[in-house]
């Protein structure tokens, strides 16, 4: 490492701190707007510090949380479902491809690989999914198309290939069959790569809004991010939701629309932001392996 002196380290630290804070600033802004008083915001605009600290945006959300809770539920279900199924299925595909003598390995590998080079695109997929498979307005439209990702398949395969041959060999000698070797020996040894793929897949599903936009009309099946998108587009959504409240309708009650919007964003993004950085090292590992070994 290069010789460093104290002052250059200090400058470096300050600069990097400045950048890091800048990067995180938009989040602070969302939070502060959500904690502000609606009138103050309308009068004076958004700011970094809450204007007239006010929890009414959150109170409003939690008074009528039906929509957001439902979206949370749906999103959690299909995210976990897809994550679990995906990891298992992709491993099942990667395992034979990692075996040296596997007949058809070249062909099947190419079959998988080609989908990374060329795709049918949006329209044929849309027609297939809606008109022929009838997956629209079901939860499966979030899960099935996203199950196999060639990039991750090869990542897993590379990992399998690095597992010492002797381990499988000695199991085979002891009479184990391929199924057993795969499930009882290879998979447990592959926890790192499986965890990484699981996380990436989960993150991908959790942040999905595309699918809802294209395939879902049923309000009870929309994903978290899509709910957020709709609210952004249509502030009336909030107003209507409140109007449906059987509870007190204070006539011309002002829906704190500006602050509520941002509060919803915080509620949606919050959990993910708290959880995901903890798994940072898995993402990092996955990135480096994936980019080096392609």
């Amino acid at each position: 490492m290069s010789k460093t002196n104290k002052s250059s380290q200090v400058i470096l630290t300050v600069f990097l701190a400045f950048l890091s804070i800048l990067v995180v600033l938009p989040f602070v802004m969302l939070l502060s707007i959500s904690l502000s008083n609606e009138e103050a915001i309308v009068k004076a605009g958004y700011s970094l510090i809450p204007r007239d600290f006010d929890l009414s945006a959150y109170k409003h959300i939690f008074k009528n949380p039906g929509q957001i809770l439902q979206a949370y539920k749906v999103t959690a279900i299909f995210s976990f479902l897809c994550m679990g199924l995906s990891v298992v299925l992709m491993s099942m595909l990667a395992y034979p491809l990692s075996k040296k003598g596997f007949k058809g390995k070249k062909t099947i590998s190419f079959y998988v690989y080609f989908t990374m080079l060329f795709s049918g695109g949006l329209v044929p997929s849309y027609i297939l999914t809606t008109q022929y498979l009838h997956l629209d307005d079901t939860i499966w439209v979030y899960v099935l198309p996203a199950l196999i990702n060639p990039w991750y398949v090869f990542m897993i395969r590379t990992f399998f290939q690095d597992i010492p041959y002797e381990i499988s060999e000695s199991a085979f000698i002891d009479g184990a069959r391929e199924f057993t070797i795969f499930f009882k020996i290879i998979l447990p040894l592959s926890k790192p790569v499986l965890a990484t793929v699981a996380l990436f897949t989960f993150l991908g599903r959790w942040n999905d809004w595309n699918t809802s936009m294209l395939y879902i009309n049923d309000e009870s099946l929309i994903s978290l991010q899509y709910l957020l998108q709709r609210i952004m587009e249509d502030i009336n959504l909030i107003k209507n939701a409140s109007a449906n409240m059987v509870a007190i309708n204070i006539g011309e009650m002002d829906i704190p629309s500006e602050t509520v919007r941002m509060a919803m964003a915080v509620v949606v993004a919050g959990p993910a932001l708290v959880i995901f950085p903890f798994f940072q090292k898995y993402f990092v590992k996955g990135l480096t392996v994936g980019s080096v070994k392609g």
């Binding site: 605009g45 299925l89 596997f102 329209v123 480096t288």
Partner: protein
């Protein structure tokens, strides 16, 4: 037949562990392969829609052939030039600016002695990567909102008139680049950082002995060491230059029509043509073009990268 020493030292002949034709392996990969067929290969077949006047009620096989009409229509439209230019230019800028920022960050972090600080900064820098473009769009809106936006508040305070950012197309290439870098530079820098950590320390020691300055070390030790990585990654990205990040280009500009001249890319155009105008044939044609051009590009860039360094390339 291999010989295998069992416990007790007796040599025993046994069959090779040769899983070549084990039916179980085929059973394992069967379902995934079927899924790939359904969701990746069937749509490829569906591309013939590009050559048809698709009608919903007639389905794929009942609709009339349209020959190259859809393609002709597209090439003759205003949209063609606009979206091609936007897609290529924006992606090009992303590649260059993205590389500079990610690499720059990686080097800065690399030079930092305190491991704790490095970890803290890295965690902060990659946070934007975990949110969706929908949430990012909220943040951009918070900054750029014509009435309340943070930027406009400051402008007003300074005595300047407020700017309606969402009606000024020329501002958006810049805005989109900033959004792109904000979201991905942190994560991308991690890849380069890992590469930097992998550089042989003796190279640095030798540079020290030769009395090299910080900049010289960067130029003569670091850069040469990671040029292969940069090359592969950049080539991969060039291969995908015709594919835009739909989330970025759809959510951040909030699909405002006025901004299309600088924010409309191939992917947003295909989406709109399919959903808004319902013209399946045409959007399919553009999609086909995108896939074909993308495919050719990947092949070319892969070939080029192999020429430079046989170790690189995707296959």
């Amino acid at each position: 037949m291999k010989l295998h020493m069992q416990k007790g030292g007796k040599a025993v002949k046994r069959k090779n562990y040769s899983p070549g034709s084990s039916w179980e392996l085929y059973a394992l990969c069967a379902i995934p392969l079927i899924l790939i067929f359904i969701f990746s290969y069937l749509p490829m077949g569906g591309l013939i829609i590009a050559f048809k006047n698709y009608r919903y009620d007639l389905g794929i096989f009942g609709s009339d052939w349209a020959g190259l009409k859809n393609f002709k229509f597209f090439f003759e439209s205003d949209a063609f030039f606009r979206i091609t230019r936007n897609t290529l230019v924006m992606n090009g800028i992303f590649i260059v600016v993205g590389l500079v920022c990610a690499l720059g960050l990686a080097i800065l972090l690399f030079e930092l002695k305190s491991r704790l600080s490095t970890k803290i900064f890295q965690t902060m820098l990659i946070v934007p990567n975990f949110i969706s473009w929908v949430i990012a769009a909220y943040m951009v809106f918070a900054v750029l909102s014509p009435s309340n936006g943070f930027l406009n508040v400051i402008l007003a305070k300074l005595g300047f008139p407020k700017i309606d950012w969402y009606s000024r197309p020329d501002a958006w290439p810049g805005i989109l680049v900033i959004a792109y870098v904000w979201k991905s530079a942190g994560m991308d820098s991690i890849v380069y950082y890992a590469a930097l950590m992998g550089i042989d320390n003796t190279l640095f020691e030798a540079a020290d002995i030769d009395g090299a300055t910080k900049w010289e070390k960067i130029r003569y030790v670091i850069i040469p060491a990671i040029v292969p990585l940069i090359t592969i990654l950049t080539i991969l990205k060039i291969g995908n230059i015709f594919r835009a990040d739909f989330g970025l280009f759809y959510q951040i500009p909030r699909n405002v029509g006025l901004l299309y001249s600088t924010t409309d890319v191939v992917d947003t155009y295909i989406f709109r043509t399919m959903r808004v105008t319902g013209n399946m044939g045409m959007s399919s044609a553009v999609g086909l073009l995108q896939s074909v051009v993308g495919f050719i590009l990947v092949m070319i860039t892969n070939y080029v990268s192999k020429k430079i360094d046989p170790e690189t390339g995707l296959f």
